[in-house]
Every structure is written in structure tokens, then in C-alpha cells.
């Protein structure tokens, strides 16, 4: 649509160029404000789409993303549990380009020049911006799990970024010997998707219960408590009694060394031979945020709540997992919610469109077993200091089966909703 407008405009200006003076027309074309978005995930794809859609061609939007298909981390646990097939979690950028006129560039951003206001990509091209939006997700903190580095991800997968890691972890689970052992090294706070590791455990247990019922699952966890803990532990007791062993810091869960060569895992001096070892390391903002110089000493990018602008550079906005914003969990829902607030603020700044007060919300659904879904959600508002939680809810133990089933069905609706909100 927008693309068509632009073509029409160019055709008109070419015709006009003979009558008027060409440079003037060129100048007018360049005066369009430019937004560059780095990262085409939950935050970036949503921001690019909303800015393009709502500015109706008044803003030039470029989206830089290396992958041609985005495989969502959300629902990747359901892929492991055989509830959803892997291919259905992949999404193309085609509609963002063809229907919304976004300039989609499949490349990796490797540099940001904040003075010149330009982004460099691996192929060497440069993109100038008036506003830059960074939503590069997470990277792992190297050395955070003793004995593991990124080169070991093919042996001991994290399955905590989009792409093929979830499929690899699933294949490893299928290849486990009868009665084998699955070990998860859980991450310290803060990390993306607080219930994610525990939904993962539920889905692994579901699969093993069907295919390898004498197998064991061990979680080594540096945290004394985790998201939806009461719901998950009750669910494991209900559905997978005796299969899941959770070792918190009191039992040495925070003192772990892995050896990818021998598949041995040392948990506080106890040696465990793992058949599958799922290492989820500590996390920090996606590397490009650090390169741009908008991260703090903890590795995250502090932002102002009202418009998600960086506290270090008013022309850069940081969304989603990379941002340090306050009370919102790092989730796809949150990133999508923040992106819409940011898109409105950026349009307001560049075109003078109306800016309404920022409102944020989040709900995270998790599946514990077939038709046994739970959820946690909250509302948030922007304060001077941070994004602050106002009120929230969480599923309760002892809910009837119909409620749990409805909650699961709702999560399928949410998945369809958010992916169409991201990719059009």
C-alpha cells in the first residue's frame, strides 16, 4: 500500500522534474523522517509495523534483521512437548515489506555511529536515522556457567533463542536411552520469559512420560524461587510424580560445573551423568545495544518509561528483552506492548501526531500438561522512575479442568493474535 504511494510519488516527481527543478524534488523526498529498527522480533517487528501503518507513508521505516524467517521462542516449549509443530512457529517478513512498505534488510547490524546517526550492517551498507529503535533480544553472559561456552551449544543446547536450538533439544530428548537423565541448568535473574524454563520442564516431562517413563529430570537452579512456582510444582506432582527433581540453591543448585566432552554435570560436588544437558546461561542485552553504548554495567539498556527512549541517547529507543525498564517481565507480550507505546512516541516526535499516555500490559501463559494451562498477568504504567506494576492476577491451584483447558485454548488464540500483530 505505502509502497504504491511511494512509487506514485516518484513517478509524479519524475514528471515534475522536467517542469520544475530536479534538486528541489529530491530534497523534498529526503526530508521524510527516517526510522531504523534493528531486530525483527516481538519488539522490533511490532514497532516497524505500527510506525509504517499509522504514519501512512510519512515516515521511512527500515527493518534490519539477519534471518529470513523468525522462529518464535514463545511456543517453542510446546514444540518440544509435541503440541505444536516446529514449522508453524516460523514467520516471514514478506507482508511487512509488501503491504506496509517497510524496507526489510536481511543483514546484521554491526555498528552504530551516534554522532552521525547511522547504522552499519555486515555487508558494509550504512543507514541514516532520525530515530533508531533497538530490539535485539538477549545474548548470553560468557563464563556464567562453569565449563560451558557458546561453542558447546550443539552438544549442550540452550534452546533459549529462536531458530533451530529447540529442534535440536527435542531430537536429543528423543534419542535419550531408556531411564536416562535430563539435566537443566536454570538461569539466574533477570532473564527472558521467567516461567520459560519451568514450562520447558513440564513439556519435557510430558514427552518423557509418553516415550520414556522411567527417565529422570533434574533442575539445578541458582534461584530460591521462580515464576508460578506453586503452580508448576503442584502440576509436576499431579502429572509427573517422581520424575522431576528441583535443586534450589539450598541444595547446591547454584554451584554447577558442566563438562560437554564427557556429559558429566557436577552439582555441588555430586557428579551426574547427563544424557541431555540443557544449559540456560545468564543473559544480557543483545550485543548491538552494547556496541551502541546504551547499556549499563549490568549489561542491560536503561530506558525512560514514557517512550522507551534510552537514558543515554534520546534518539535511540530500546525495546523488549534488552531494555531495563522496571517491573515488566522480559516476554514477547511485554516487548509487543512496549513497541506500540514507542511507535506512538516516535511518530509524535517525527510527525507531530497525537501522543496518548503510555499504558503497558502483559500476560504469560504456560502449559503444564495436556489441557492444563495457567497464566499470570499485570497492568503497568509509566512513572518518572520506571515502568511500574499497578495490579495483576495469577491462576490458582485447584482450578477446575474446564478453566485450565480454556486457559490453554486462550494461549493458542494469543499466539495467533500476537504473531499477526507483529507480521501483519
Amino acid at each position: 500500500m505505502t509502497k504504491l504511494d511511494r512509487r506514485t510519488f516518484l513517478a509524479a516527481s519524475a514528471a515534475g522534474a522536467t517542469a520544475l527543478s530536479a534538486p528541489m524534488v529530491m530534497g523534498a523526498a529526503h526530508a521524510k523522517p527516517r526510522v531504523v529498527v534493528v531486530g525483527g522480533g516481538a519488539g522490533g517487528a511490532t514497532a516497524a509495523r505500527y510506525i509504517a501503518k499509522d504514519s501512512k507513508g510519512a515516515i521511512d521505516v527500515t527493518l534490519i534483521e539477519p534471518s529470513r524467517r523468525y522462529y518464535t521462542c514463545f511456543f517453542s516449549n510446546l514444540v518440544i512437548g509435541d503440541f505444536v509443530d516446529f514449522e508453524s512457529t516460523g514467520h516471514s517478513y514478506a507482508a511487512l515489506a509488501s503491504e506496509y512498505g517497510i524496507n526489510v534488510v536481511h543483514d546484521m547490524a554491526i555498528g552504530v555511529d551516534r554522532d552521525a546517526k547511522s547504522v552499519t550492517v555486515a555487508s558494509g551498507m550504512k543507514f541514516d536515522y532520525d530515530r533508531l529503535i533497538l530490539s535485539p533480544g538477549i545474548d548470553f553472559v560468557s563464563g556464567s556457567v562453569n565449563g560451558w561456552n557458546l561453542n558447546d551449544q550443539d552438544v549442550m543446547p540452550h534452546a533459549y533463542k529462536g531458530g533451530t536450538q529447540a529442534a535440536l533439544l527435542k531430537a536429543q530428548i528423543e534419542a535419550m536411552p531408556e531411564g536416562g537423565t535430563y539435566v537443566m541448568v536454570a538461569p539466574p535473574n533477570p532473564y527472558r520469559c521467567p516461567p520459560g524454563p519451568y514450562e520447558r520442564i513440564s513439556m519435557v516431562a510430558h514427552k518423557l512420560k509418553n516415550e520414556n517413563p522411567t527417565a529422570k529430570i533434574i533442575i539445578a537452579d541458582p534461584k530460591p524461587k521462580f515464576s508460578k512456582m506453586g503452580l508448576f510444582t503442584a502440576g509436576w506432582e499431579d502429572h509427573y510424580a517422581g520424575m522431576v527433581e528441583w535443586l534450589g540453591p539450598d541444595f547446591g543448585g547454584g554451584n554447577v560445573t558442566v563438562d560437554p566432552g564427557s556429559m558429566m554435570v557436577d552439582i555441588d560436588g555430586e557428579e551426574v551423568k547427563a544424557d541431555v544437558c540443557n544449559v540456560i546461561p545468564a543473559m544480557k542485552a543483545g550485543r548491538i545495544a552494547e556496541i551502541a553504548g546504551v547499556t549499563n554495567d549490568k549489561g542491560w539498556a536503561p530506558v525512560n518509561a514514557a517512550d522507551m527512549s534510552s537514558k543515554m541517547d534520546a534518539n535511540i529507543h530500546v525495546l523488549g528483552d534488552s531494555s531495563q525498564q522496571g517491573d515488566m517481565p522480559k516476554s514477547g507480550f511485554s516487548a509487543n506492548s512496549q513497541a506500540k507505546v514507542c511507535a506512538m512516541a516516535v511518530r509524535g516526535a517525527l510527525t507531530g501526531s497525537k501522543v496518548f499516555p503510555a499504558k503497558f500490559s502483559n500476560t504469560c501463559w504456560s502449559l503444564i500438561a495436556r489441557d492444563d494451562g495457567v497464566k499470570v498477568g499485570a497492568n503497568y504504567e509509566a512513572t518518572d522512575e520506571k515502568i511500574a506494576k499497578t495490579d495483576g492476577f495469577i491462576s490458582q491451584n485447584g482450578e477446575d479442568a474446564a478453566t485450565r483447558k480454556a486457559t490453554y485454548e486462550e494461549s493458542i488464540g494469543w499466539y495467533a493474535g500476537i504473531t499477526s500483530d507483529m507480521f501483519g
Binding site: K375, G377, A416, G417
Partner: protein, 226 residues
């Protein structure tokens, strides 16, 4: 018409006589299944048309027969062809409404389970004549007639479309496009005042004022389903 009603009543009677415990369970089940319908349909004494037509006497009624209700073209055509709602036609329709009647405005994915269908049809036959059961409370007329700003509604809708697809798709989460204004406003106030018990919707509506609800209603009323 009388026949179908009789059949439904006889069916219930037969169940009651054979096994009172089972009959009660089936009745409860039907009432529970109806919860999925009642965000759009009213039934019982004083029921009125909302997003969907009121369902009093629907078992045995000709399709598309409620005067003044804005039916889809598909429903009007089916009515012309003589479609009558009885336990068989309702069973077929409710299995997957959009398969049975392409173009129906009822955006409901269907009841796959045969027991769900038979019990809810029995409930429909029975509930028409009983007292109204927990229906959304009426909204004050000055709130209902508040003129919403669809542009403001469009901005606010960003929060809705994370789950409710803007193209009107409705897998697992109902579609909210193309609703009648009053029905939309009444439903949102029912969540806000905690008469409807969905926690995500209660949370979302808790911070919407009357004007914002009116804006959303105005915006979604003009959205087209694909």
C-alpha cells in the same frame, strides 16, 4: 416446531426418569457449555438481542426470524430456503458454524464434542422459559449513548489486538470486530465491574473509563471481518 420442542422435553424427561443423577449432571453440563455462548446471546425471561439474537424459543424456531436483528446475508438466504432450528440442524450448525453456513456472522469456532452439543441444545430448549440467569447488568443510558472517538479507540485497540486478531480470526479467543455498539459497551462494563470473571479482561478494563470504552466500541464497530 412443536414436535422438536416435544422431542427435546421428552429427551430430558427420559433422562430424568432413567437416572436422576445423570440427568442433573447433563443439565449442569449444558448450562456450563452455554457459558461460551452467553457473551453474545441472552436466554430466559426478558432476554434481548445483543451481539447475537436472543435465544428464547430457538429450538423449533425458523432461522433468521427475530425481527429487527441484523442477520448476515447467509442467514437470510438460509431462512428463505426454509431452515428451521431443531436438534438436528442446531447440532450440525454448532459443530462448526462457519462450515455449516459460510458467511454467518456468528464468530464462534464450534463445539467439537457431541455431548457438549446435545446438552447445550437441551439447555436451550429448557432455559427459554425459566428465569433469566446471570446476565450482564444494564449500563446506564448516558454511558450507553456516549459518542466514542474511533481514533482514540484505534490507539487503545493496540492493547486488544495482541490477543483479539484485528482480522477477526477467532481461534481460542473470540473476535471483537463488527460488534454492535451497545453490546460492546455492555460487555466491557460487565468485565470492569467484575460481573464477568475473566482475569485478563478484568485487568484490561479496570483502567478504561467510560469515554475510552466508548472509543473502543466505536472503533471495533467499524472494523470488517476478513
Amino acid at each position: 416446531m412443536v414436535n422438536d420442542l416435544m422431542r427435546a422435553v421428552m429427551f430430558l424427561l427420559a433422562l430424568t426418569m432413567a437416572s436422576p443423577v445423570l440427568a442433573e449432571a447433563e443439565g449442569d453440563h449444558g448450562r456450563n457449555v452455554f457459558k461460551k455462548c452467553k457473551s453474545c446471546h441472552q436466554i430466559g425471561e426478558g432476554a434481548t438481542d445483543r451481539v447475537g439474537p436472543n435465544l428464547n424459543g430457538v429450538v423449533g424456531r425458523a432461522a433468521g426470524a427475530i425481527e429487527g436483528f441484523r442477520y448476515s446475508k447467509a442467514m437470510i438466504a438460509a431462512a428463505k430456503d426454509g431452515l428451521v432450528w431443531n436438534s438436528d440442524t442446531l447440532d450440525a450448525y454448532l459443530t462448526k458454524p462457519r462450515d455449516y453456513m459460510k458467511g454467518t456472522r456468528m464468530s464462534f469456532s464450534g463445539l467439537k464434542d457431541a455431548r457438549d452439543r446435545s446438552t447445550v441444545i437441551a439447555y436451550l430448549a429448557e432455559a427459554s422459559t425459566t428465569a433469566a440467569s446471570n446476565r450482564d447488568p444494564d449500563v446506564a443510558p448516558e454511558i450507553l449513548t456516549l459518542e466514542g472517538d474511533p481514533d482514540y479507540g484505534e490507539y487503545l485497540s493496540g492493547e486488544c489486538v495482541t490477543c483479539h486478531r484485528s482480522d477477526g480470526g477467532d481461534e481460542g479467543i473470540p473476535s471483537i470486530t463488527g460488534w454492535d455498539n451497545a453490546a460492546f459497551v455492555t460487555a466491557l462494563h460487565a468485565y470492569k465491574n467484575k460481573h464477568r470473571d475473566h482475569p485478563v479482561m478484568q485487568l484490561a478494563t479496570s483502567r478504561l473509563n467510560d469515554e475510552e470504552i466508548a472509543g473502543l466500541a466505536a472503533f471495533f464497530a467499524i472494523q470488517q471481518q476478513e
